[in-house]
């Protein structure tokens, strides 16, 4: 294992985060704080409790999930797309680095950034609402698996994209709508029966549900199902990454 290469990629990516601190960390924290102010304090104060949890506290797992999905994808996609765009990717593919090491470096850095961001949002949330974490180990497991899985998805998007516009399409056009419609701000019990069934097709629902369970012990679907779904996404993403490197799709002519 080329440990120095993994460390080099990881450090290089993390230094990009330091360079763009406002964009990488401050911006998501500020926008999430605004969600707490608007949905938690202003609107939430007029809403009743949901399954014994105040509305402000109820939306915390959904908001963290919203950030972690978008940031994991964006960080990983940008991380691998930038060297492609600038032409420095030659160095990566002429170095004695295996594909696994490349993925560990880029995806590990993107996932780390997302995890840091998640904990910052958790700390920020404490200033607005009171919340508890019933199952901290499971909370970390859900966070970790989600960050890794969606960083892998971001890595795939970064390889697939042939312009900056495409980098934004999936987070903006797919992930954000699915997160909003996946129970970030409500339980699916609040929906009409037909929409409850349709919502079950939304994969993000399972992520938010399992994550919320780790906080309050309440969930829309079985925790085991949530965990199973994350594992399915993880396997799909790993398979796609393996295929990309095996075929050289968009990286080698």
């Amino acid at each position: 294992m080329n440990i120095y290469a993994i460390i080099a990629i990881f450090k290089f990516e993390m230094s990009r985060t330091r360079r763009t601190l406002m964009q990488s960390i401050a911006s998501p924290v500020i926008s999430t704080s605004l969600y707490f102010v608007v949905f938690g304090a202003a609107i939430g104060s007029r809403m009743g409790q949901i399954e014994g949890v105040s509305y402000g506290a109820f939306i915390i797992p959904g908001l963290i999930m919203l950030s972690i999905l978008n940031e994991s994808i964006s960080n990983a996609a940008f991380g691998i797309y930038l060297p492609r765009f600038m032409g420095t990717i030659y160095e990566l593919f002429s170095a004695p680095v295996s594909y696994i090491e490349i993925v560990i470096g880029y995806v590990g850095a993107a996932a780390t950034k997302s995890l840091i961001l998640s904990f910052l949002i958790l700390i920020t949330a404490r200033f607005f609402v009171d919340y508890q974490v019933l199952h901290p180990v499971w909370m970390f497991c859900f966070l970790f698996l989600t960050a890794i899985t969606f960083s892998l998805l971001g890595f795939i998007i970064g390889i697939w994209a042939d312009g900056f516009e495409k980098l934004q399409i999936v987070p903006l056009m797919i992930i954000t709508p699915l997160t909003f419609l996946g129970g970030s701000f409500y339980t699916i019990d609040m929906l009409p029966p037909i929409w409850q069934k349709i919502t079950l097709l939304n994969p993000v629902l399972y992520l938010i549900s399992g994550f919320r369970w780790s906080f309050y012990g309440i969930s829309d679907v079985q925790v085991g199902t949530s965990l199973g779904m994350i594992m399915v996404f993880l396997v799909i993403c790993l398979t796609l990454v393996w295929w990309i490197f095996k075929t050289g799709y968009r990286i080698k002519s």
């Binding site: 120095y4 080099a8 450090k11 230094s15 600038m86 032409g87 030659y90 160095e91 004695p96 295996s98």
Partner: protein, 318 residues
């Protein structure tokens, strides 16, 4: 000690290319049946016109482009089945100025060293940056550097991981004369330390000055590989130019045995001869000219440059 001069080492190729072919997805045939051996410790210049296949060949050896067929070994390691070991031997300075624009010089160079599995070595990095006159700029972002400096950063990145084989794909393009000379001094030093160097350049005088062997590639085919001096002897020609006192309308009879050419409205006479021959025929020619009443006021001799040879080779193939 230059190991290239050592006969034992000379016979052992550090890079061996066999039956290499490359056809891109758009059916463009970039390389056709390439056979090439590069020996340990030599400076090998790969020359060819634009689009000849130089960069494709280099990119395949370095692992950036997939070969369509054929095999390549770098220091005995197959570049496909044993790519990790093969690549750890090779450094590349690509033709394109591709740099980590937003990073500092030092961070970018350290990144390259780490990528090649080498533990940090600040002393070595400092030495390389100083050699390339980049030390004072080590904390500058690459985007703030001039084109020549960026080129040197790319060289520093390639040297930072201590390759035994170094590909320099037009490394002096856009670099001013002083720096270019400095860079070639460093290349010579690397060679003295046992690094095998493969370079492409558009400044053919550089190849003439630096290279031990020359390879010429055109239209995806290697058309010639030879020792530089042998090549110059075999394909080069020497000319004697005589500036006559009065112009001639035609060559006097009796001079047919010489390879003479009357140029510049009959005021110049050019004699082409084999410089390697024991008897160049110059003495006899001058005597015969005198006998025929052809007098000259000045004379000068010239030898084909590598550029002349290269241009002729490529033109003949076209």
């Amino acid at each position: 000690m230059n190991s290239f001069k050592n006969k034992g080492e000379f016979l052992q190729p550090i890079i061996s290319v066999k039956e290499l072919n490359k056809t891109y997805n758009n059916n463009f045939i970039a390389l056709e049946n390439i056979e090439l051996d590069i020996y340990k410790g030599e400076i090998f210049a790969l020359l060819g016109p634009n689009g000849a296949g130089k960069t494709s060949l280099i990119n395949i050896i370095c692992g950036i482009v997939n070969p369509s067929s054929g095999t390549i070994h770098a220091n005995g390691y197959d570049i496909v089945s044993d790519y990790l070991k093969a690549r750890s031997e090779i450094g590349l300075v690509p033709q394109e100025l591709a740099t980590d624009t937003f990073e500092t010089v030092l961070a970018s160079v350290n990144f390259s060293r780490g990528l090649f599995g080498k533990r940090p070595n600040p002393e070595l990095v400092e030495k390389i940056l100083k050699q390339l006159s980049l030390w004072k700029k080590r904390h500058s972002r690459i985007m703030t550097l001039s084109g020549g400096m960026k080129r040197r950063v790319m060289i520093a990145k390639a040297l930072s991981h201590e390759p035994t084989i170094l590909f320099l794909d037009e490394p002096t393009a856009g670099v001013d004369v002083d720096l270019r000379k400095g860079m070639w001094e460093m290349v010579r030093e690397l060679r003295e330390n046992g690094v095998t160097i493969i370079l492409t350049t558009h400044y053919i005088e550089e190849a003439e000055d630096m290279a031990d062997r020359i390879g010429v590639i055109n239209k995806g085919k290697i058309i010639l590989v030879d020792d530089k001096n042998t090549l110059m002897q075999k394909l080069g020609k020497k000319q004697l130019k005589l500036h006559l006192q009065s112009s001639l309308s035609e060559l006097p009879a009796g001079l047919e045995e010489f390879n003479l050419e009357l140029t510049n409205d009959g005021i110049e006479l050019i004699y082409t001869f084999d410089s390697q021959s024991k008897d160049t025929g110059i003495v006899i020619l001058l005597r015969k000219l005198n006998e025929h009443g052809v007098y000259f006021k000045d004379l000068q001799s010239s030898e084909s440059s590598l550029e002349d040879i290269f241009v002729n080779l490529v033109r003949n193939q076209s």
